[in-house]
Point group: C2
Chain length 320, copies 2
């Protein structure tokens, strides 16, 4: 058996050329200059605000080579960032990648990571415009995304009011289910979250919208963050939470509480947002679903209380 | 002796609060929303292009705790990024930080890094607008900077023409000298490069300017990059290279070739740029120095040859 080629076989400039070559077909509106200079040049449109966010994926902390394909590790790394843009209602404009990896990393894994990143980037019109390569003992991907919104219109966490209705997009617990299966049955995690960019942009255009956050750490933690920003509380209707049927059944079979898992599982990358009561009375969740292009479920109400009522207390369970 | 507090004593949200608190006094023009939401919001000015660049500093690769203070490691990490903005002629607008570190890292080192970063940020009006914290076995700082230039005016690597005169700001070899001293004598590296932001912005306003790059890896490598972009060569006047006297003397004492060291040492973070011959004939280096607020030295000419003539071939020497 021949040994696979590693990063050290190509060296830094060889790897950078390889990335530039792989990324060459990616086009972005308003990218004046991409990879290859001291910095990338992007052109803002008229009356735009720009939003920027950073997220990192670290080997053995956020991913394991044994549990996910390199392709999916790459995709997931960008999903986490795009989800932050979605939560602002932003349209992606480009991203930079700081990739650190051991010289002995197999080139095939490097290629897989890049292909995953660039695939996700292509799906959402978010070109790779620059980056950095460094040696390190662990592989990690630190990504910075840039997006734009109409000036003064970004969705924010601080837009919450008492009486607002709370909604989530999609379903909760799918990511937790995928991880559970891998833990119990082995194999690779195949489930990938979808950054809710279209939903975020639709919400941004909705009169009577309140606050918005993406669900990266689970409904309990992220709703807690949203509430903390405004010093308010919430009443959650646990019965209404959109949990996938397969998830419920699998939890039952393992004697796990699906609700606890979904509340704390994390990595669903759905949006949690609020609408003023008046607006919520006017637009049904079904109508919102059609408008957003994804299922929307009402899950509770904002109160002047403290903390989250209506759901069980936090338990400890898998959190990787 | 009591053990110093570590990162794990504060936890992720405690550390984020700590950073937000330390960064609260940093103001940036056009920062609509800083740390604390899913993304930061920045407001572009009229007719601006935005430039973005990423650079990482990894423990035991780019820095060693034993050779630099945490404060200087933090400052240097941002200097490397600001230098990329300088090479585009850009004005800094803000930066994000993806910090990865072991839970057992002493809080005093974390504080030192942050203070260094924020000090450098304050010096150049580049507020910390967001970031990410992650566990890792090695400490690393992946930084993304954003800056702005008048639309269509960014300095680029691809502006070179045959006959252009080549210039550098400041002196070369100071960083190599600092590292040499630490290697031979122990102690801490105290020398810190200055990102040539004002010089870059002055150059941007100069008619008859050509290409620009910052010297992060040494004149030989970075001039090579500049030339490769346009497929041209250069004749360098080795006698004219601005090497600090202390550097020459120290090299002599150690029987090292100061020229080789300065050409390959790296981390000087000076600007290397070209002017059209006509412009160079009109403006003396002294005049440029006054205009740029830093010494400017003419070091050579762009030719239609191949590679760099006039300087010795690359040797191998310390490169850390």
């Amino acid at each position: 058996m021949t040994r696979g080629r590693t990063l050290s076989d190509l060296g830094e400039s060889g790897l950078i050329d390889r990335i530039a070559q792989m990324a060459r077909h990616l086009d972005g509106s308003g990218v004046v200059l991409g990879i290859g200079d001291d910095a990338a040049i992007l052109r803002p449109g008229k009356a735009e605000d720009w939003v920027t966010s950073t997220d990192a994926s670290v080997e053995d902390v956020h991913f394991r080579w044994s549990q996910q394909s390199a392709f999916n590790i790459g995709r997931r790394a960008l999903v986490a960032n795009l989800s932050d843009l979605a939560a602002m209602g932003a349209r992606p404009r480009g991203f930079t990648l700081a990739l650190a990896a051991p010289p002995e990393l197999e080139l095939s894994l490097f290629d897989g990571l890049l292909r995953g990143l660039l695939r996700e980037a292509a799906l959402h019109g978010c070109p790779l415009v620059g980056g950095n390569l460094a040696r390190a003992r662990q592989t990690s991907l630190a990504i910075n995304v840039l997006g734009c919104v109409p000036r003064g219109c970004a969705l924010r966490r601080d837009g919450l009011r008492v009486g607002d209705h709370l909604f989530v997009t999609g379903v909760l617990g799918a990511a937790a289910l995928a991880r559970l299966r891998v833990e119990r049955k082995g194999g690779l995690i195949r489930q990938l979250a979808i950054p809710r960019l279209a939903a975020g942009q639709s919400l941004l255009g909705l009169k009577g919208r309140g606050a918005c956050i993406d669900l990266s750490d689970g409904l309990r933690v992220d709703l807690g963050r949203l509430l903390a920003t405004s010093g308010l509380g919430a009443e959650v209707d646990a019965e209404r939470l959109p949990l996938p049927r397969a998830f419920r059944k699998y939890c039952e079979a393992l004697s796990l509480n699906p609700l606890s898992l979904a509340l704390g599982g994390g990595e669903d990358y759905e949006l949690l947002f609020s609408l003023r009561a008046k607006t919520a009375a006017r637009i049904s969740p079904e109508k919102l679903s059609r408008r957003f292009g994804v299922r929307v479920t009402r899950v509770g109400t904002v109160t002047d209380g403290v903390g989250i009522a209506g759901v069980p207390e936090a338990e400890s369970f898998l959190h990787y």
